[in-house]
Symmetry: C2
Subunit: 308 residues, 2 copies
């Protein structure tokens, strides 16, 4: 049955100019002439951590597995090239599940002109695991890294934050086009995508850049989902708390000079808002301005894998 | 603790000329100028299918995760370039387990001059899953594919088969150097590595090449482990049965013309034996010669993932 699934998949994979040899051999071969800087990223998603298989259409899980990696390419301002996928499927219903996962994967791959170069399809007695490795290409505008923010730089973000668990964690659009456009048009010092949480991810970007960050919390763009979630949960966490710590927003954090920030904010070149939420500073750590105007620590809330 | 593990790993990863940007950012960047044909392969290993975590040193599991992918690069006659790894760790003892896995991965990566370009380290309530994606480079001698065997070609294999479960499934040496040497020196028509079983994998190579294969079963090189395993299990399966169907030998199957086969067998250019075990033919399927000299079907034994 594994071979039947592979045959099903090989029929459905569109040809792609990058694929010198597609899936079906021991490995695929990609035509990479002209690709100097090759960006590579991998993400592994597990049942009950990144999705709940019993509660969600597997097509959305397949889509998410690809989309989180596309978001990592966006974070590097890289152009998507190719993907390989590996899955561990629960034995019961494995064939049907594999097909549904790929029904979510294939349209998104096509949308971003991503060659599906192969995969590894396994069954086991455990829960669903899906992992994707993506290759991308650094453009002539260079890569966007976490290192490079300078004290005095402004913190710009795309879109709005919080409450992604209400559905955006699956259906978000990775900011690939936005990152490529901004990197082409403006001088970006540093950037990353928000997967674990705006606060924790901003603290990571600051640390890699050897500086700190001061967030004007009243300027953080709060998604309507944050408001809905805070109301639903009614546990004392505010919409701002959700925006700072929920994660899986897959928006971009960017570091740019104050003058470039002013230009970008005036241009608003994307279909989604660009917002200035504060500045990078000399003092390491994450900070905010208290009600009295003084600087005080801001918790780096967000998701971290527990190691017991 | 996830961040502590990543810090531990970043300290231990040797610098590598391929790494323009190593682990720690949203993605890594590889210097790929000059790499035209880029080979890419992924394998996912799960507890109780590919190893039993409770019974084996995790260093051997980490090593195996890399080695099975190196074997896929060998199967393409590709030079190893870089790897990314993703793991789902059981929460309890996750930090210690992650370190041990990498203690098995790093020496093998160094041995094959493989850049460790990054990874994704997760914890969850499920069993251990480890996946590696490897990139390799097609050499000037071209890739070795499953397609290309011609009726009349001889079937050559490296090494010996069967009984890998007694330990070789972890400690095997991927045939990277052997494949590169043979591909440089001889005209190889097709090739693959034996992961699922000599019989099933040979049947796959034949099918991709549009021909069949006739195995002279008395010539199949039987590993001493096959004999030991047949004796231990005493279930009626012979050492030959184990050699044909056990899998995880990670030896090479090659298709070459009769004259090239004669040269290779006379040269014996490897430190391990090259053996002629039969020929490719016009009739699709897997065949052997019965005791009366007539051709009869040979079962394509080996491992296949069960889809229920």
């Amino acid at each position: 049955m594994e071979q039947q699934f592979i045959a099903w998949l090989r029929e459905r994979l569109p040809p792609h100019p990058l694929l010198q040899l597609g899936p079906g051999d021991d490995a695929a071969i990609l035509r990479m002439a002209g690709v100097d800087g090759c960006v590579i990223t991998v993400d592994l998603l597990t049942d009950r951590v990144d999705f709940i298989l019993a509660e969600v259409d597997p097509r959305r899980i397949g889509r998410k597995a690809l989309a989180v990696n596309l978001s990592d390419l966006a974070a590097m301002a890289a152009r998507p090239l190719a993907a390989v996928l590996a899955v561990a499927l629960p034995k019961k219903g494995a064939g049907e599940l594999a097909i549904k996962l790929y029904e979510g994967i294939l349209p998104l791959a096509e949308r971003y002109d991503l060659a599906i170069a192969g995969g590894d399809t396994n069954t086991w007695d455990g829960p669903l695991v899906i992992t994707a490795t993506l290759l991308g290409q650094v453009t002539v505008d260079g890569p966007l890294c976490r290192k490079g923010a300078m004290p005095g730089d402004r913190i710009l973000v795309t879109g709005a934050f919080g409450g992604s668990i209400l559905g955006r964690q699956f259906d978000f659009e990775p900011r690939v086009r936005e990152a490529l456009l901004l990197n082409r048009r403006y001088d970006l010092h540093a950037g990353m995508d928000v997967s674990d949480g705006l606060a924790i991810d901003l603290s990571r970007l600051s640390r890699e850049s050897g500086c700190g960050a001061i967030v004007e919390t009243d300027r953080v763009p709060i998604h309507a989902d944050s408001v809905r979630l805070a109301r639903q949960q009614n546990d004392g966490r505010t919409p701002l708390d959700h925006a700072l710590g929920d994660g899986e927003d897959f928006e971009l954090i960017l570091a740019v000079s104050p003058s470039e920030a002013a230009t970008m904010l005036a241009d608003q070149p994307l279909g989604i808002p660009l917002t200035d939420i504060g500045s990078f500073g000399d003092t390491p750590g994450l900070w905010t301005r208290g009600s009295d105007g003084h600087i005080e620590p801001l918790a780096a809330t967000g998701w971290e894998h527990a190691f017991e």
